[in-house]
């Protein structure tokens, strides 16, 4: 997959003899114009496809269900019909007649934050070791992680379901945190390793010469230099844990008070009792934290994920 092998074709094709340039003139001009206009059509088409569903979600979350059923074609909300009652309903506890998403938010937040803390605590030393330290089996670690991804998550879910039931960890947020940590550590290591490798080795060696131990170097030099990337890795883990659905479903489905937001929304959307507009408010509650994090840190996140891609 090296870039060198593919750069050869252009030089063969891109060198037609000079005189032919004029003959190509009109076709060239027509095509250029088509491409120039087509480009904007594509850009706007994709914008509509990506943004409209989210706009639709927001729209439905602020109108009463009667308004939706009477006039489903409306792509805006009349000021007289605008309501935030849907949000009150979805967030308040079941005891007070709501859907209990407030509780789910707390659950999701706790699970996601704990997973971030654990994944970083475990992943940072591991990533540093892979990037810098010549231990036995270093070259195979990534391969083993990769191989594990070949199997469907549900294959791991079966024994975990069995094992956690026995340990009393199923139906428990702790069990979920353990699974999320294990699932995100390889991703965290992949991202962090790239960063640790960009820290110049000379700086670390200078630290060693000045009498720091390896751990001292890791703590006082490499960690500080890699801090932005640690943040982006943490955010990425947070997003994975917050969005996760399958394991929450398998472990927590019969414990409503421990549902995560994702699980709560999926369970309630199956029943006819809760109005669509209320559940759309639930979707907004589920999506908003992710979108805020994403827009605040977009550059940081995308850079970390595609760090290897530039090389081709």
């Amino acid at each position: 997959m090296s870039a060198e092998t593919v750069i050869t074709p252009p030089s063969q094709v891109a060198a037609p003899p000079e005189p032919r340039r004029m003959a190509h003139g009109t076709r060239h001009r027509v095509q250029s114009r088509v491409f120039r206009i087509g480009r904007w059509v594509v850009i706007i088409g994709f914008l509509i496809a990506t943004l409209v569903p989210f706009y639709y979600m927001l729209l439905l979350s602020v109108k009463p269900i009667e308004s939706l059923l009477q006039n489903p074609a409306a792509l805006w909300v009349k000021p007289s019909e605008f309501t935030l009652q849907t949000y009150v309903n979805v967030l308040s506890s079941t005891a007070s007649g709501g859907q209990g998403f407030g509780r789910f938010l707390v659950n999701s937040g706790m699970v996601a934050l704990a997973s971030v803390a654990l994944a970083l605590l475990i992943g940072i030393p591991g990533a540093y070791a892979i990037a810098r330290l010549p231990f036995i089996g270093r070259r195979y670690v990534s391969g083993v992680f990769l191989a594990a991804y070949l199997f469907p998550a549900i294959l791991m879910a079966i024994p975990l379901f069995v094992g956690f039931t026995r340990l009393g960890l199923r139906g428990n947020l702790v069990g979920l945190i353990i699974v999320y940590t294990a699932q995100t550590v390889p991703v965290a290591i992949y991202m962090l390793r790239n960063y640790f490798e960009t820290v110049p080795e000379a700086i670390e060696e200078a630290g060693l010469v000045d009498g720091l131990s390896r751990m001292g170097v890791l703590r006082q030099i490499s960690l500080k230099l890699a801090l932005p990337s640690i943040m982006s890795t943490g955010l990425f883990v947070f997003m994975i844990a917050w969005n996760e659905f399958l394991f929450a479903l398998l472990f927590l489905v019969d414990r409503r008070e421990r549902w995560t937001v994702s699980l709560g929304l999926s369970q309630l959307s199956g029943s006819v009792e809760v109005p669509t507009t209320v559940l759309m408010a639930g979707s907004v509650v589920l999506t908003l934290p992710i979108i805020i994090i994403f827009f605040a840190t977009e550059r940081l996140l995308t850079g970390g994920l595609t760090a290897g891609a530039e090389k081709g």
Partner: protein
């Protein structure tokens, strides 16, 4: 041979420094293992061990009610494999999984290339557009599937409303619950797997940003020179894309195809949340979930998982073979 001999003979002249070097490396190596050990423990306990246990379970008779007293030493049997391979639902779900995977991967890569090429040149608002394109990928799957289900709802969903009011559809299309629809094209009735197509389109929508992201990074790192030279030589935009840009994107496209194939083949959330596996969308992972929770047959669920993993490994093997052969030709 001779080279190695001379090398082993050299060191004695500066033993002191060499020994110091070795001990430092050894200490680093030991520390490396220590730092790595939490990761190894977690991954072994939560990923590798369950995988192996799952393979064992596939050879045992095990019902969901029995898991309380399950142990590793249940008698081994091939009954689960016989049961899975002998049922027509398995073969149907395998075919559905293939169609679903192939369709989704092709669509994701096509849309990804299209989007990446469109926003390649700088323009005002490009940063916002790029971020907006990534939204389907970062948003929670439960939320986006719920939005899609609502938008495609036959009664009040906006897609069917627009289709009936503006596009002249006679009746609403039950996108997610119709197994086979008939499209009338120039008087010909063409059967179309409506729900399967819908979930493939959903996959394209949700995962094109992933391809887009990687292709953007590659495009940004590409040199302009070959294209400029081609422009001077009179190449049309299409030619310059086809013969200069696309070949340089091929390695990334190949990587994306592999990654997306693995993930789509194992995909569970999207289909489970959109259709629940109904209407001709019963892919393997949903089928496994049903074995586990509806039929409560742990052994059969494990057996089908193992079979699916094997199919995936064989597929990837073929793929690597093709890549290698191509590499030789180029």
């Amino acid at each position: 041979m001779s080279a190695t001999v001379t090398e082993t003979e050299q060191p004695p002249t500066r033993t002191g420094t060499t020994r110091k070097r070795v001990t430092l490396t050894q200490r680093d190596a030991r520390l490396g293992l220590w730092l790595m050990s939490p990761t190894l423990i977690v991954v072994l306990a939560i990923v590798i061990f369950p995988l192996l246990w799952s393979i064992l379970l596939s050879f045992q008779r095990m019902r969901l009610i029995q898991i309380g007293r399950a142990d590793f030493f249940e008698p081994l049997t091939l009954a689960n494999y016989q049961r899975v391979l002998g049922s027509s639902t398995f073969w149907n779900s395998l075919l559905t999984t293939f169609i679903y995977t192939f369709g989704s991967v092709v669509l994701v890569i096509f849309l990804g290339v299209l989007a990446a090429m469109a926003v390649r040149q700088p323009f005002r608002g490009r940063t916002f557009v790029r971020a907006a394109y990534l939204l389907p990928y970062v948003a929670p799957v439960v939320a986006v599937t719920y939005i899609w289900r609502t938008m495609l709802n036959p009664e009040f969903g906006i897609v069917n409303i627009i289709g009936q009011n503006l596009l002249g559809w006679d009746e609403p299309i039950p996108f997610l619950s119709q197994a086979v629809g008939h499209w009338n094209l120039f008087g010909l009735e063409i059967p179309v797997p409506t729900a399967l197509l819908t979930v493939i389109v959903f996959e394209g929508w949700r995962y094109f940003p992933f391809a887009f992201l990687f292709l953007m990074a590659r495009l940004a790192a590409m040199s302009d020179e070959p294209e400029e030279a081609a422009l001077v030589d009179g190449a049309t935009p299409w030619q310059s894309f086809r013969f200069i840009v696309l070949p340089q994107l091929m390695p990334i496209i190949g990587l994306l195809a592999v990654l997306r194939t693995i993930w789509t083949f194992n995909e569970f959330d999207d289909i489970f949340l959109l259709t629940g596996g109904a209407a001709g969308t019963n892919v393997a992972s949903v089928q496994i979930y049903n074995y586990l929770t509806v039929q409560r047959n742990v052994g059969a669920a494990a057996a089908q998982s193992v079979i699916m993993a094997l199919v995936l490994i064989i597929m990837l093997g073929f793929y690597l073979l093709i890549l290698r052969r191509r590499g030789e030709r180029v």
